[in-house]
């Protein structure tokens, strides 16, 4: 896990981090790519062995699709591609990926017809896993749960997928690049605010009177934390890390800032209301927008959130 709660890191530390990243990258380049030998990865049921790193992989949800694309591998099949391109966007879903239907009910016959070498899924029942096992070897992870740290789970999934596809070096490099970039952004934020950035609430607008607030166990909140910014509107951890509130709940953000993740959809009408305009944060000019980013994404979406949120906060500091 990234624990970048120390934005005032010394220049020496940054240098050392950069050096570390560089050496990791170099060693990755120097090592040959994984031989086509057997691989063993661990999912929620324990170690799973593959005779060779699979190349034809079907994913059953968007976070897993993100993780695979971040590793530089296009999935063979993924669900609801049209909506993915609208709502997730980055990393881009290449043409030629087969749409396997609804995330809640992926089409088994389509998956079978793809002749995949592995199916990667999250949060399925044992019965559903057994059905998929008939098609191809399955990896199933516990991804979203109120009882664990969702981000830690996504990191684990990312690394296991890297192990599966023989791209551990690339994954390590991506992670260290992410850490470096988030550290750099945290420092830029601290500089811009001359110390600690304001406490910030991250929301998504719902309609004129309701919105979602991101709390514990949500990707945007973890990104805030990594940037060294405290959550101005903490919510108890839940499975998806969001709570639905009425607009006036935002009044609790008195000294802090508010960032809304796009797209706003019907929520855009809220901007005209006096209640919104008189919210302490909005009235003081501490409101900004970020995104679009998918809030229930894979581990690297932490970086995408950190970019979007820190850009928004930097814009506010000007």
């Amino acid at each position: 896990m990234i624990r970048a709660r120390t934005p005032r890191r010394s220049a020496g530390a940054v240098f050392r981090a950069l050096l570390l990243a560089l050496s990791t990258a170099l060693s990755a380049a120097a090592l040959p790519a994984f031989a086509d030998g057997p691989v063993s990865v661990t999912d929620r049921r324990g170690p799973q062995s593959f005779e060779a790193p699979p190349e034809r992989i079907v994913v059953l949800d968007w976070a897993l699709a993100e993780a695979l694309l971040d590793l530089g591998i296009a999935p063979l099949g993924a669900p609801e591609l049209t909506l993915y391109r609208d709502w997730v966007g980055t990393p881009a879903m290449p043409e030629g990926v087969t749409d396997i239907g609804l995330r809640s009910a992926p089409n088994l016959e389509t998956i079978a017809s793809l002749e995949s070498q592995a199916i990667v899924a999250a949060d399925l029942s044992a019965q559903e896993v057994a059905r998929l096992e008939a098609i191809a070897p399955v990896l199933v992870f516990d991804a979203w749960s109120a009882d664990h740290d969702n981000l830690a789970a996504q990191r684990e999934i990312f690394l296991e997928l890297a192990l599966l596809t023989g791209r551990t070096a690339r994954a390590e490099r991506l992670l260290s690049e992410m850490e470096t970039e988030i550290t750099r952004r945290a420092e830029a934020l601290a500089r811009a605010y001359g110390g600690t950035p304001p406490d910030t609430a991250v929301i998504r607008l719902n309609d004129a009177a309701t919105l979602w607030v991101y709390g514990e166990n949500a990707v945007p909140t973890a990104a805030l934390e990594a940037l060294g910014v405290a959550n101005a509107l903490p919510q108890p951890p839940s499975r998806w890390g969001v709570a639905q509130k009425n607009l006036d709940a935002l009044a609790e953000v008195e000294e802090g800032a508010i960032i809304a993740i796009r797209p706003h959809m019907a929520g855009a009408q809220v901007f005209e209301s006096p209640l919104w305009q008189k919210l302490p944060a909005v009235a003081a000019g501490r409101y900004a927008e970020a995104g679009p980013v998918w809030s229930y994404g894979g581990y690297l979406s932490l970086l995408r959130h950190a970019r979007a949120l820190s850009d928004a906060l930097l814009a506010l500091a000007e």
């Binding site: 909506l83 809640s104 389509t110 079978a112 309609d207 509130k245 209640l275």
Partner: protein, 660 residues
């Protein structure tokens, strides 16, 4: 009707409403009382706490009062026009029509929704009402028939809206909370939109008071005075529909206020049309304000906000049963005749049925879409292993629901009885969703025992009420409608969070064969077969019970035991289907009638033919759900509701047309 001197407790009602408003103020206002009075008299708000009072708390209270009054008024108009005390925006289908129209328009033409929400919503409400009117007929509006037609329209429209929301999930998360009726405001703009429209409608209703008075004296008398009632009644109905439409457009689905308020008004002593309208509006306003107070309290205690509309249904449904069960009119006992076919099941019909079943099976097994397009081939072993549990599960579910429907229609002696209309499916769903909410277990793995408990609970309630009221169809339908509404409220609270879990529950509510296991399919099919065999063995009972208690007892049938046994069997069948694949609508209602239409009128042939028809209907629905929007899959229950609901409406419409 006797015009008793009316003593309407208007001051009391007014005081109650004011007390509820005061409750809101005390609970939610965090500024000094003096400052609050200053704000009321026009002082500019300074701090956010003050803005919150003037732009969130006060408009919310005002919106609750306005929409409550609008719904009370709409309900009162509907009930006075139709002379049916179960008429309301909810029960006549108008609200779900408005809701579906807005869902469709949000998807197809977002600009239209932004600009002309009330007209989109009104068009939907009118369409739904026209359907109900077409089915029930002007005279049918008086009784049970209109309410049952409204239920059918509700089920159909909810299935359609559910399918749309499921397919475009992220775009619709904001509709969940709106669909559950949220009164939250962020200024006065909504209210300034609602109030003039509400005022206009109220003026229109006042203009129609004289007509309502004449109507009460008897339509014949009015016609004799040379007053043509039809245009007036049409106009008043349009006003009621408009009120429904603006309330749905402004705050979403708020159930039961429109149904409950006029009944409470009459219970309070409202007699004349003007009194009833006034009291209904006032009671509606008080009810919604009270429900909203509860919603605000609960939202403060829970991590997610609680939508007000869901609470009105949760409290309103049981209140309605209590209020109405003693007050049944003659029209409520009226029978409804469904179309009858030939007297016997002829070989031609049998052959056609067999052909249908065979071709449905071949279609379901062999014709499908794949990444390469349409294919008509015998499935490979693995594909077959995916398809057969779904096909068998669908067939078993269809047969079980059809059999359950046959039994219920005969035992209740009501051609519109069926497990979904009587709330047995709702009882099972209710138990399953409640278990999911309380324990956090996935709804797909809760199990049949819980479903059975829910379904049997409904049955026990039904039996208790039926015993006391001599099997009045209205009571039976009422319990069903109310339980359905309570379930719906609970589900809406669960869905309002709008997360991926909401979509999982929504998908389950569609009734899908997607997760049916081979074991589940086999047990469903086995139980259906056993049920058919048992019903065949007891066909004499079914004939006797349908003939009437006196006849049955004269022939030596222990009527109470037989009825309890039949109802328990019907409830168990519905519970098993719900546990294995989620609620399935319309099959249990429709299949028995289709069996009658092809000539299976006697109990023996009917218990054999109806399950076959139900099975075919479900297998075809499941197949369509799998292939139509490939690679997306729609739940079989949703397709069955669309097919069955559509067919049902057409049948009822033609039935009316045939009579002239």
């Amino acid at each position: 009707m006797i015009a008793r001197p009316a003593r309407l407790p208007l001051p009391g009602l007014l005081a109650l409403t004011l007390a509820l408003v005061a409750g809101h103020l005390i609970l939610r206002i965090e500024i000094a009382p003096a400052r609050f009075l200053a704000l009321l008299t026009g002082t500019e708000a300074q701090s956010f706490a003050e803005i919150r009072v003037t732009h969130a708390v006060l408009p919310r209270i005002a919106m609750g009062l306005a929409v409550g009054a609008a719904l009370g008024l709409a309900g009162s108009l509907f009930q006075q026009i139709t002379g049916n005390r179960l008429a309301s925006p909810l029960t006549l289908g108008a609200a779900s029509g408005a809701w579906l129209a807005v869902v469709v328009a949000t998807l197809a033409a977002p600009a239209l929704v932004a600009g002309a929400r009330e007209w989109v919503s009104l068009a939907g409400a009118c369409l739904a009402f026209a359907l109900v009117l077409g089915i029930a007929g002007l005279r049918g509006l008086l009784g049970l028939r209109a309410v049952l037609a409204g239920m059918a329209v509700n089920l159909l429209f909810e299935a359609l809206a559910g399918a749309l929301v499921l397919l475009e999930s992220p775009y619709f998360s904001h509709l969940f909370v709106w669909g559950a009726g949220d009164l939250g405001q962020s200024g006065w703009q909504s209210l300034t939109w609602v109030l003039p429209r509400l005022g206009l409608a109220a003026l229109g209703a006042l203009a129609g008071l004289r007509v309502l008075g004449l109507l009460r004296a008897g339509a014949g008398g009015a016609e004799a005075r040379g007053l043509s009632l039809a245009p007036w009644l049409g106009g008043l109905a349009l006003i009621a529909l408009f009120l429904t439409a603006i309330s749905v457009a402004a705050v979403g689905m708020i159930g039961f206020i429109g149904l409950l308020a006029p009944n409470l008004a009459r219970a309070c002593g409202a007699r004349r049309p003007a009194q009833e309208i006034l009291a209904s509006a006032l009671i509606g306003a008080a009810l919604l304000t009270g429900a909203d107070l509860a919603a605000v309290l609960m939202s403060g205690a829970l991590p997610d906000m609680v939508p007000t509309g869901a609470l009105t249904a949760l409290g309103g449904a049981p209140a309605l049963v209590l209020l109405l069960r003693r007050r049944l009119g003659a029209a409520d006992h009226a029978a409804l005749e469904m179309p009858q076919g030939p007297a016997r099941l002829r070989p031609v019909a049998l052959a056609a049925l067999a052909l249908c079943a065979g071709s449905a099976l071949v279609l379901a097994l062999a014709l499908a879409q794949g990444p390469g397009g349409w294919q008509f081939t015998w499935p490979e072993p693995m594909t077959l292993s995916f398809r057969w549990p779904r096909i068998l599960g669908a067939a078993g579910a269809g047969a079980a629901m059809a059999l359950s429907g046959v039994i219920l229609q005969r035992v209740i002696r009501n051609p519109l009885a069926s497990p979904e209309v009587l709330g047995m499916s709702s009882g099972a769903s209710f138990a399953l969703v409640l278990t999911t909410l309380l324990t956090g277990v996935s709804i797909h793995s809760v199990g049949a025992g819980v479903a059975l408990a829910g379904s049997l609970g409904v049955m026990v309630l039904l039996l208790a009420l039926v015993r006391r009221h001599g099997n009045a169809p209205m009571v039976v339908a009422l319990v069903g409608i109310s339980l359905g509404a309570v379930l719906d409220a609970l589900v809406k609270i669960a869905l309002a969070a709008g997360t991926a879990d909401s979509f999982a529950i929504l998908g389950w509510l569609g009734g899908s064969t997607y997760r049916v296991s081979p074991g589940g399919a086999l047990s469903l099919a086995g139980v259906s077969l056993a049920g058919v065999a048992a019903a065949w063995a007891g066909r004499r009972w079914l004939t006797l019970i349908a003939a009437g208690d006196a006849v049955a007892e004269a022939r030596g049938l222990a009527i109470a035991k037989a009825r309890a046994g039949c109802l328990a069997g019907a409830a168990a069948l519905a519970a098993l289907v719900t546990a294995v694949m989620g609620p399935v609508s319309f099959v249990g209602l429709l299949a028995p009638h289709l069996a009658t239409l092809i000539g299976a009128r006697r109990a023996g042939p009917q218990v054999l033919a109806a399950p076959v028809i139900g099975a075919v209907l479900m297998v075809v629905s499941d197949w369509m759900g799998r292939v139509l929007l490939y690679p997306m899959q729609l739940p079989a229950g949703t397709i069955a509701a669309l097919l069955g609901g559509g067919f049902f409406l057409v049948t009822l419409l033609r039935l009316r047309g045939g009579r002239g």
